[in-house]
Amino acid sequence: MSDVDLSVSIGSLHLRNPILLASGTVGYGNEIAEFIDLNKIGGIVTKSLSLKPRKGNLPQRVVETPSGMLNAIGLANIGVEEFLNIKIPFLKKFDTKIICNIAASSIEEYVDCTKILTTEETISAFEINISCPNVKQGGLEFGHDKKAVSRITEAVKSETSKPVFIKLSPNVSRISEFALAAKEAGADAVSAINTLVGTAFDINTCKPKIKNITGGLSGPAIKPVALAKVLEIKRNVDIPIIGIGGIFSWQDAVEFMIAGASAFQLGTVNFVHPNISETMINDLILYCEKKKITSIKNLTGSYIL
């Protein structure tokens, strides 16, 4: 057994280690559980849930781009009711934190979803998606309006005593202002970043490769942008940060913690290496041992500028 303490806290949420799986890249946990032991990671963030099921966008929904991919899934999801009836019984079996991601097209819908989901004890925290770039209603509109960020955060907080994380859009000029708006409205943490808006064209047909015309860029291509956004928040706002954006290795994850993240989420990498969340645990321990770090918490914001 190693003496390194990998546990971290995000507000009142305690995680056995800082490894979380990002919304939209683990479904509701059942598929990825074929590759990893969910009991070994910090937790999973569910696919965005809306009040009613959503069919999502027409294909083509995904395309690979240099060191990344564009997706425009359109928040396809099973809705709150089916999640509680079908997915929660499976998730109950695991000793891992379940963070429920909510995406809605109105403040009322965020409130309604929270009200229903907060009664389920298996859910440890909420991540509020105000930054999906691929749906016309809600999502991005909210994420680009500081007042809307405040209103949604306040509304959700008033419905639950569980920690609430606001997932921020990188498609703004000053992300720290949005982090501040979330903090002042009572958010327990911010998740940064959601995907960057991008597109790609087929040079033979002159049509966009994604049916939605634009999609959200993820993968290693966005890692430097994500790190800069995390650092910007860390230097300007006193709020825990969950770092997300192109982490493909334990070294990438360590960079996010150095830049200011208390925990991090693995996203696109789950598509390619579905067992990486489990295999990187030992790598993080070895790194801490080598650096004589007794608690991984001490890595957070340890940058020397």
Partner: protein
């Protein structure tokens, strides 16, 4: 489903840009069913970043093969793999063909590289004592794949080999002589061909299963990147990777 570091046993060129790559994996070989696929990480760098899906073309005791056309950046990197190299492979994935239902005659209809899943299917059909006829078509002679097929008739758009026309037209021209007993059609090829095959089978009340393809990121149901319209439930897409890639032709609406 397994994640395997599979060693390349051999790579053989079958046609102008058509290759057969054989990888060693006892587990995948033992568990694969015809019509299932594997998702292959072509390099260990971030180029290409995502895995690429390929039908399982045939299996042996401790190995399986994939057939591919070298057409893009991923497949051209794949064609340069040498025996002994290791590839990170996920599989077997998806739902394959059903061969245990009541039919005694299988008609294989392949368009271009759509021939890929059929060598495996044909060998299983023969084990189940089914009669097998193969129709395979392509734009031109050099693209026409007959690898490991039996009782094979060919079609080419330019008439350079066999029937002049597409493979569904070839099927139409032969249906009267083939359609005896209980027939089941197995199709794989480009969407336009599969659509016309769906139409043909509906018109002639022929039972058929088709193997579809789609861009996908994960191959195991989490990215939701490969939706396909269901004819039974319009409120929800099916996923090519998990609900397919093989579907009853009546169950899906092709894009």
């Amino acid at each position: 489903m397994f994640l395997e570091n599979a060693k390349v046993q051999s790579i053989t060129q079958l046609g102008t840009n058509i290759f057969l790559l054989t990888l060693i994996s006892e587990k995948i070989a033992a568990h694969a069913k015809p019509g299932q696929f594997v998702n292959v990480k072509i390099s260990n760098t971030s180029f290409p970043l995502l895995r690429r899906p390929f039908s399982i073309c045939k299996v042996a005791e401790d190995s399986f093969s994939i057939m591919f056309v070298s057409i893009g950046s991923g497949t051209s990197a794949l064609q340069n793999k040498q025996p002994g190299e290791i590839l990170d492979v996920m599989g077997p994935l998806g739902n394959g063909f059903s061969i245990n239902d009541k039919f005694n005659k299988a008609i294989i209809v392949a368009g271009g590289i759509g021939a890929a899943p059929f060598p495996f299917l044909i060998s299983e059909l023969l084990k189940s004592k089914k009669e097998v006829y193969c129709l395979t078509g392509a734009k031109t002679k050099t693209d026409c794949i007959t690898y490991d097929m039996i009782n094979v008739s060919t079609a080419t758009d330019d008439g350079s080999l066999g029937f002049a026309g597409n493979v569904v037209e070839l099927l139409a021209s032969k249906i009267d002589e083939i359609n005896e007993g209980t027939v089941k059609i197995f199709g794989c090829g480009p969407n336009a061909m599969l659509k016309s095959l769906q139409h043909f089978c509906a018109e002639h009340s022929l039972e058929s299963e088709i193997s579809t393809e789609s861009s996908m990121a994960c191959g195991y149901g989490i990215c939701q990147g490969c939706p396909i319209e269901s004819t039974k439930n319009k409120d929800k897409f099916l996923l090519v990777c998990k609900d397919g890639p093989v579907f009853n032709a009546k169950d899906i609406e092709l894009p």
